[in-house]
């Protein structure tokens, strides 16, 4: 480690270029340590620290190299940008990962890279790192890598046999946006590897069912990232795209990143501030898709293409669908409970448990974490509203807005509740088959800056 300053300089540049990829989570894998090895993964993921912008840091997130042959407008590493260029060697990355891991700084490695020489060459470099970690260091911690669009399927397959998660970033929600801002990337070059990874995952889980020791392939699945606000797309388009990705490619996570102006390309908006509130609303809606059983078309449609900035997407939906309320807390099934503003995943799970032994009233459900300020307009307990109230849309809207601070980045109290250790989550999920829809992990909360809805 003689070239200490050199290593430091590389780290500065290559961590800086990687930081706009927001998908820093370590969840979904349960790789166990083996004798003589180092490391393990926790299905719920672990945040090791939080950066100054409040994001969870759990992985050593760096680029292999920033010497790119492409010229994507939104990216700092584009070939036409004047920037110091540098690259790590595979050994340097493996050494950093292991030594950070031994000190419990991180859960593992998130390795990405600019396209060096060619997509295949870049993929080969990445494979050298993961092989060194898994085979020489016998590292069983979390590894997330980028599949480089355009790389050979055989290389992607090889890489996938070593890592926990692979991702291909879409970045721009529509092909129009792609054509304008990333002319060298074709939609097919992104969706191709995505489809390939997803079919490999399916094949592997089929094999797993038949042969217990069949090899792993990205056990924590794949994820992707969309940039919000670099193109003209509406929230509707973005949400529909995410819904499709969850369904068609079995995507584990779609991450959204408010566009941060890092480039002065003429085709890009010269926004001063990243659209954080918009990003927040889309994250909330994404939660509604993943954990609450909503469909994109329920939340937005052609006459309503963007989210209300004042109301969260669930309140907004409920106000447009007042005829579906009130619902009776003691009878409604789990998913119906989840549709009530002010009842989140935790409180709905608790209601379902608690009412097995007694009928609940308002004081009870308040203890279970229901936010009555919002929920009271939409529910009855034992057939009664909390008090005589006017259930018209305007009245409710005014009352809900008056009671909320803007914007509620993380609701106090919720983060704590959501950090149930994995065993408890498993227990809750075993309770009722419908809960298999999965509950958000602590990392979900921390990574998405979204509280219970």
């Amino acid at each position: 480690m003689g070239d200490y300053m050199e290593l430091m300089d590389k780290l500065k540049v290559l961590a800086d270029s990687a930081k706009y990829d927001v998908s820093c989570v370590s969840s979904g894998s349960s790789r166990k340590n083996k004798p003589g090895g180092i490391g393990s993964s926790m299905p719920a993921g672990i945040c090791h620290t939080f950066s100054g912008d409040g994001r969870c840091i759990s992985l050593l997130k760096i680029l292999m190299s920033n010497c790119c042959i492409y010229d994507c407008a939104y990216c700092v590493n584009r070939i036409s940008n004047d920037l110091p260029r540098t690259a790590f060697t595979p050994d340097e990355i493996a050494d950093l990962t292991i030594n950070f891991y031994r000190r419990n700084y991180i859960e593992g490695l998130f390795l990405s890279s600019a396209v060096v020489k060619s997509p295949d060459h870049t993929m080969e470099l990445i494979i050298r790192v993961v092989r060194r970690l898994r085979e020489d260091y016998r590292f069983n911690g979390y590894i997330h890598i980028k599949a480089i669009p355009g790389a050979d399927a055989a290389l992607i397959e090889e890489a996938g046999s070593y890592v926990d998660r692979m991702s291909v970033n879409i970045e721009l929600p529509t092909s129009d946006g792609l054509r304008l801002l990333a002319p060298q990337k074709k939609k097919e070059a992104i969706l191709g590897p995505m489809g390939f990874i997803s079919s490999k995952i399916n094949e592997t889980s089929d094999n797993k069912r038949r042969f217990r020791n069949s090899p792993e392939f990205v056990p924590a699945g794949q994820s992707t990232q969309l940039i919000v606000g670099a193109t003209e797309d509406h929230d509707l388009g973005i949400l529909k795209l995410s819904e499709g990705l969850y369904k068609r490619f079995g995507m584990r996570r779609v991450f959204y990143s408010a566009y941060v102006p890092v480039s002065n390309h003429p085709a890009l908006p010269q926004a001063v501030k990243p659209p954080l509130l918009r990003e927040h609303r889309i994250y909330q809606a994404d939660w509604l898709l993943r954990f609450y059983g909503f469909k994109a078309e329920e939340l937005l449609d052609e006459s309503h293409k963007d989210f209300d900035t004042q109301l969260d997407p669930k309140c907004d939906w409920a106000l447009r669908n007042l005829e579906q309320f009130p619902i009776e807390v003691n009878k409604a099934d789990y998913f119906l409970l989840l549709r009530v503003p002010g009842i989140g995943v935790r409180s709905a799970q608790r209601i379902v448990k608690a009412r097995m032994v007694q009928k609940l009233d308002f004081a009870d459900i308040k203890k279970l974490g229901v936010v009555l300020k919002r929920a009271r307009f939409f529910i009855t307990c034992k057939g009664k509203y909390i008090d005589k109230l006017d259930a018209s849309e305007d009245f409710i809207r005014i009352n809900i807005l008056a009671g909320s601070k803007q914007p509620p980045m993380v609701e106090p109290g919720y983060t704590q509740l959501s950090f149930l250790p994995p065993s408890n989550q498993a227990m809750l999920q075993g309770l009722r088959p419908w809960m298999a829809l999965s509950a958000p992990t602590g990392e979900d909360v921390a990574a998405s800056m979204t509280g219970e809805l």
Binding site: M8, L11, A15, S40, I57, N104, Y105, A446
Partner: protein, 245 residues
């Protein structure tokens, strides 16, 4: 007010619970002798810890309520909440009446308090699995300090014994002057004082500086949100975090 006093051990609490039943008394509180402030309106009974009695209670929880209930009680004890003894007693009374379904009574105050104490403790354990920071000291040992709200070293040890199984490590709770010590085979918890911690190795400086650099680089200035950061990473943990030194 009738108050039972126990010696501060888990067995002490269970013995007190046993005594309440066998003496047919209903104590208003079961408090630890540590940090006890007596007042003249209460009458105090000091309970001598007796392992034969505490074992009977222990087995009865396991058999007649549930394994979860046993875990809940033990974790409540580890929380060091002054009310833990009283809470465990009330929770067990309910538990013996309701059996394993006791934990479904979430809107009952006793069950609710039991669950929140447990949740706080489990949350802290979960956080610390991420927040513990080791530094390598001479002799190749990885040493870390913590000062958690709950007494959790013994709950952290299994996680690190699996994960970092090939390196000796120490997790030192400086608040309680105890530590989990691991020698690459087994771990134990013992009393521990900070006097004889060896110096850090040369490598150590290199990696901690690199880590600090990485941490600094990651924040996106236009998204700066110190309030959120403090909410997720409360100040009281900062002293032990390499990136905050």
């Amino acid at each position: 007010m009738l108050t039972y006093i126990y010696d501060g051990s888990f067995e002490g609490i269970l013995t007190a619970v046993f005594e309440a039943f066998s003496r047919k008394q209903v104590p208003d509180a079961i408090l630890s002798e540590h940090g006890l402030q007596q007042d003249i309106t209460s009458s105090y009974i000091f309970i001598d810890t007796d392992c034969a009695k505490s074992d009977r209670v222990y087995n009865s929880i396991w058999r007649n309520i549930s394994e979860d209930a046993l875990k809940n009680c033990y974790h409540a004890f580890l929380s060091e909440d002054p009310q833990a003894g009283t809470l465990i007693y009330r929770y067990l009374k309910l538990g013996w009446r309701m059996g394993s379904r006791v934990d479904l009574h979430l809107s009952d105050n006793t069950v609710f308090n039991m669950m929140s104490i447990n949740r706080k403790l489990e949350f802290e354990v979960h956080r610390l699995t991420g927040f513990v920071r080791f530094r390598q000291v001479e002799g190749g040992i990885f040493y870390s300090t913590i000062s958690p709200d709950n007494n959790v070293v013994e709950l952290l040890a299994p996680h690190f014994a699996e994960r970092l199984s090939d390196q000796p490590w120490i997790i030192h709770d400086i608040k309680r002057e105890i530590a989990a010590l691991y020698n690459t085979k087994t771990w134990i918890v013992s009393e521990f004082s900070a006097d004889d911690i060896p110096l850090s190795t040369e490598d150590e400086k290199l990696y901690s500086v690199l880590w600090k650099q990485f941490f600094k680089t990651l924040s996106i200035p236009s998204r700066e949100n110190p309030k959120l950061q403090r909410q997720l990473l409360p100040r009281r943990y900062w002293d032990h975090l390499t990136e905050k030194w």
